[in-house]
Amino acid sequence: MVTRIDNGSAGRANLSGSQDYILQVKGLVKYFPVRSGILQRVTAQVKAVDGVSFDVRRGETIGLVGESGCGKTTTGRTIMRLTDPTRGAIIFEGQDIAKLSAGQMKHTRKDMQIIFQDPYSSLDPRVPVGESIGEGLLIHGTPKSEREQIVSEMLKRVGLHPEHSRRYPHEFSGGQRQRIGIARALSMQPKLIVADEPVSALDVSIQSQVLNILKDLQRDFGLTYLFIAHNLSVVEHISDRVGVMYLGKMAELCDRNELFENPRHPYTQALLSAIPVPDPRIRRERIILKGDVPSPLNPPSGCRFHTRCWLAQQICTDEEPAWRDIGSENGSGNPHLVACHFAEQTKVKAGGTAMVARNFDPTAPAKESIEGPKS
């Protein structure tokens, strides 16, 4: 029935042998055309994802963080082929799925599933949840008896009762619906799960329940997660490696501890310092970024962060920084990838997030700042 359980430990073990990639994303680009006028001609492109590359190792959890409009959700959806990429390669299990036809994709999609953010809109209100969970199995021709068995097994796995399968979504709370969404993704026995903000719509006490379930399932089924979220504390909790996105580009990507202790991209530093810590006795120096994220319709030249960056020089406006490895310092030997001209100079003291970038004056006006809150 559920056969992948014993593969679990094997999947995890492969983590150290860094060659075993379940997914490789290379130069992924996704533009959404903006049409206007009576002829509906394409007048502009929303550059939602603009050249993103990363590898996902088998059995790991890779977190993608960033603020709204940074392209993290579009990246996840494009990898699932829920929208078609404009350019770039998505190599899943050795096969480039970016160019597969819908029919071919049907087979591949068995191995990759998605969990959505909103547990209210992602379940069909007119269908008993058991049918929603088993729908993928039905499509792939699993006989009814086996289907029912898998559905009740999955419901048990996410902490619900098998009898719940005949109930409708409105009979469940938000947290329970999110479990149903997880059960639905699991029923196909996928290898990769894209979790798009799976806990952001949930209350904190429910959020921790769902996060624990996700961790348990990963251990038992050897799952690989691409975990997309805006909440850095949640991402830190669940991820092995974390990628930070800004305006359609990857800004920084490395091991979880390395990122939170030794962030090198100024945007990552600002993001980390902006998070309120639930401890009233901690008073941190905070980097307050000027203005808002620029529009992805017309992103800034050079480094996209230069309009809000307190370190920006002329080169940042002129040249796009390379996506390069500066080497991690935590001895893991894993790469620390960052896209910043000055990544070598942004080192922060040990203790990291609490005292990010002491040397820089965060109140100094950013170059070409669009709008300054304290002007």
Partner: protein, 356 residues
Amino acid sequence: MKAQSSGRPGDELLRVEGLKTYFYTEDGIVKSVDGIDFSLKRGEVLGIAGESGCGKSVTSLSIMRLISKPGKIVEGKIWFDGQDLAQLSEEQMTKIRGNRIAMIFQQPTSCLNPVFKIGDQIVEVLKIHKKMSDRSARDRTIELLTMVGIPSAKKRFDNYPHEMSGGMCQRVMIAMGLANEPELLIADEPTTALDVTIQAQILELMKELKRSINTAIILITHDLGVMAEMAERMVIMYAGKIVEQADVNDLFDAPKHPYTQGLLASIPVLGQVKERLEVIPGTVPSLRNLPQGCRFAPRCPRRMPVCTSEDPDLLKLDGRAARCWLYHPAINPDPAVAEEQTVEQVNSYRQSHRHA
């Protein structure tokens, strides 16, 4: 600062007593706020935290008298500077609302009128309550927009809400809320809809304004990080009741109520990686069908026999309060002993102390 606020900082500004706000729906009575008491001093920041459905937003709407059918303030007093807001006529309340008490909401983009210029929307507030001339209201508006950090405020005056980002709209909402220098500002999840870097800007702005204007603030949020940073005193609500009330340091240092303890333990904290998060089992009860006894009892890890039959009072404990039998003098918190405690014992204790 202004003529109508006669009190000094530190004086009591607001006292809510036994407030009950129910919603009479077709499916039954929803007891959103079910008997809460708290007070607020001038210039103080009080945080109200809790999960969805705990009644924190209904509490603030009740203070603003913005509860509409099928909802109703059933009982209780809302003393604001010596006046009971619950008894005021709509006309009298209109004079206070937006003037002496202002509110900012979670969704700044939907709270501004999309067909009016943002400047005119603030001018309107000033003209209604302050009877200002067009000219001086306009000048004051530009001053306010500058104060909340909107660059080139003169130009921005003529913008429509859709021309501004969420963070900028929230600044406009704050400017509007502060236009009449209210004595009390109620901020209901003011940063929840914003990204973290924008949230940081708004929190910084609110702290700055707090220092310069000295308005009392009721801050409502589910984000305990924001709470720790902004609030001086905190109220934790659960299923329509206050379960704990304490100074912010005391609350985070040593939460008393098992719900508060569970809440604090269940959030992932940046820089403190744990293999597993603590969990509060189960879900929040339906407000139409509340459990007997303590409302948290079905989920409580320290549940005792008395908890499922009798609702505890909000017990005063050395400058703070918790609604939990664990702290009742008639109950021994030692679980082995507590097992023996019976409802009768507690009742007899209550009887003897009622007359004392």
